[in-house]
């Protein structure tokens, strides 16, 4: 559920740090009917224009805090709330070229009552200004 809301239409942009474009970012939500503790987010996979980025390149942030995916799996206090827009940052020097890009997002969640870990996907065409 909520698959089509996973990737947010707003917030797709290149990220600068110290005058350098270090990657790009976009807003993302959980495809789930409640919030989830961060330790139960097993994977956030991003591909742009068919190119997948490595797990190590992903950063997840909510409310001013940021985690790598490995750090996230060991985060037992903080949560990704229901409907909350997190920022997914992908570290890739130079970021993305201006113009339209196809962004694909997959989230794999460990949900206690399910006997498997579901992966949910969304894809959208977004524009870097």
């Amino acid at each position: 559920m909520f698959d089509k809301y996973m990737i947010c239409e707003d917030g797709f942009r290149n990220v600068e740090e110290g005058g350098q474009v270090v990657g790009f970012a976009f807003g993302a939500r959980l495809p789930y009917y409640r919030g989830l503790g961060l330790s139960m987010v097993e994977e956030i996979a991003v591909a742009v224009d068919g190119q997948a980025y490595p797990r190590e390149a992903i950063r997840f942030s909510v409310r001013g805090r940021s985690w790598t995916l490995d750090e996230m799996e060991a985060e037992y206090e903080d949560r990704w709330n229901f409907g909350e827009v997190a920022e997914i940052r992908v570290l890739t020097p130079g970021g993305l070229a201006s113009g339209a890009h196809t962004v694909e997002l997959a989230e794999r969640l460990r949900i206690s009552y399910l006997p498997f870990e579901p992966t949910t996907r969304d894809a959208k065409t977004l524009i870097i200004a």
Binding site: M1, F2, D3, K4, Y5, R29, Y33, R34, G35, G37, S39, M40, E42, E73, Y76, E77, R79, N81, F82, G83, E84, R110, I111, S112, Y113
Partner: protein, 334 residues
């Protein structure tokens, strides 16, 4: 026949509007009260930002103020025990018990007489929290949800543990999704939009209605080589069922709340897949006096193609309940 069944709603029904922040907690409670759904059930991780982290007193004050303002009654807090919180190992038993106690205390603070537990929670954990549940005046109810049903060995095991313990603070909350008599139209239509050929979808729908064994239908459809949407549609037969509503009768002393699951309410106030006109008389016969809480779960089946209007859907189900729960006038020949 007179009955004491009350109408309520789980705020889960408004998940679309809540997720997108189109409606606030007050909005959905107000909408429910307007329909006469005066019992309120809540998935707290959905409605209370940050829960199960401790909530500020103001959150509880606001909740109670809303109940007073709209004349609604707290019914149930739906808990989620995250026993797979730690990757690669299960949450230790004592921590599971402690987690359940947080939920029980929270239910009590909300004024809910019930908390919904998921079926995957172990009977031993339930037994361990029963004394605390009694102390807090909150009954812990295992949700009997498809593909389970009252005769499933796992539900029987829960029942045996409850009876052996003798606590009246453990019980069941049946989800009416165990009584899906006809394949839901909104499911079928979504699978067709995803590429399931119509003829195959018709075949699956008919086989479901004939209650043909799932594995036979799956095998048929595999041979049709009709693509992944057809396979996705047919494998739903493994996880859905029409159990016998009369089975609830023997568990009535432990049934304290009900999820009135629905996937679609048509404009003429019919749920095409779940026969409430057959279910409600069984509840009346069993002397059920709790709430029928609307639980709309159609949004995920239409969201890809249509706007979701949860409020209208719940309104229609409540109107159907109003009719089905009214005492029937004695029949007279005209």
């Amino acid at each position: 026949m007179a009955n004491a069944i009350k109408r309520g709603v789980s705020l889960y029904s408004y998940q679309e509007e809540t997720y997108l922040q189109k409606m606030t907690l007050e909005d959905v409670i107000a909408a429910s009260a307007r329909m006469g759904a005066l019992g309120i059930e809540v998935v707290s991780e959905q409605s209370f930002w940050g829960y199960p982290a401790p909530l500020p007193d103001a959150t509880y004050d606001h909740w109670h103020a809303l109940m007073d303002k709209y004349g609604t009654t707290p019914v149930c807090h739906d808990l989620m025990l995250d026993y797979k919180k730690y990757k690669g190992r299960l949450m230790p038993f004592e921590e599971q018990v402690a987690s359940m106690k947080v939920d029980i205390a929270h239910a009590a603070r909300l004024g809910c007489p019930f908390t919904r537990a998921l079926v995957s929670i172990s009977p031993e954990v339930l037994a361990a929290v029963a004394p605390y549940a009694e102390e807090k005046g909150v009954k812990v109810l295992i949700e009997v949800h498809a593909p389970l049903h009252f005769d499933h060995p796992w539900i029987q095991r829960h029942y045996e543990v409850m009876e052996k313990l003798g606590s009246d603070h453990l019980g069941f909350l049946p989800d009416m999704g165990i009584f899906v008599k006809r394949f839901p139209r909104v499911w079928k239509e979504r699978f067709i939009r995803q590429g399931c050929p119509e003829k195959v979808a018709d075949h699956i729908e008919q086989a479901y209605e004939a209650r043909t064994l799932a594995e036979y239908v799956i095998n048929d459809v595999e041979k049709m080589k009709a693509g992944p949407a057809a396979m996705a549609m047919v494998t739903t037969l493994r996880h859905n069922l029409y159990a016998n509503p009369r089975r609830m009768l023997e568990f009535m002393h432990r049934i304290h709340n009900i999820h009135a699951k629905f996937y679609e309410m048509t404009a003429d106030l019919v749920e095409p897949s779940i026969p409430y006109e057959e279910i409600i008389p069984v509840l009346v016969e069993g002397g059920y006096q709790g709430y029928l809480c609307s639980e709309y779960e159609g949004n995920r089946w239409v969201e890809d193609a249509f706007p979701v209007d949860s409020v209208e859907q719940v309104r229609r189900q409540q109107a159907m309940f109003e009719r089905l729960l009214s005492p029937k006038p004695t029949a007279h020949a005209a």
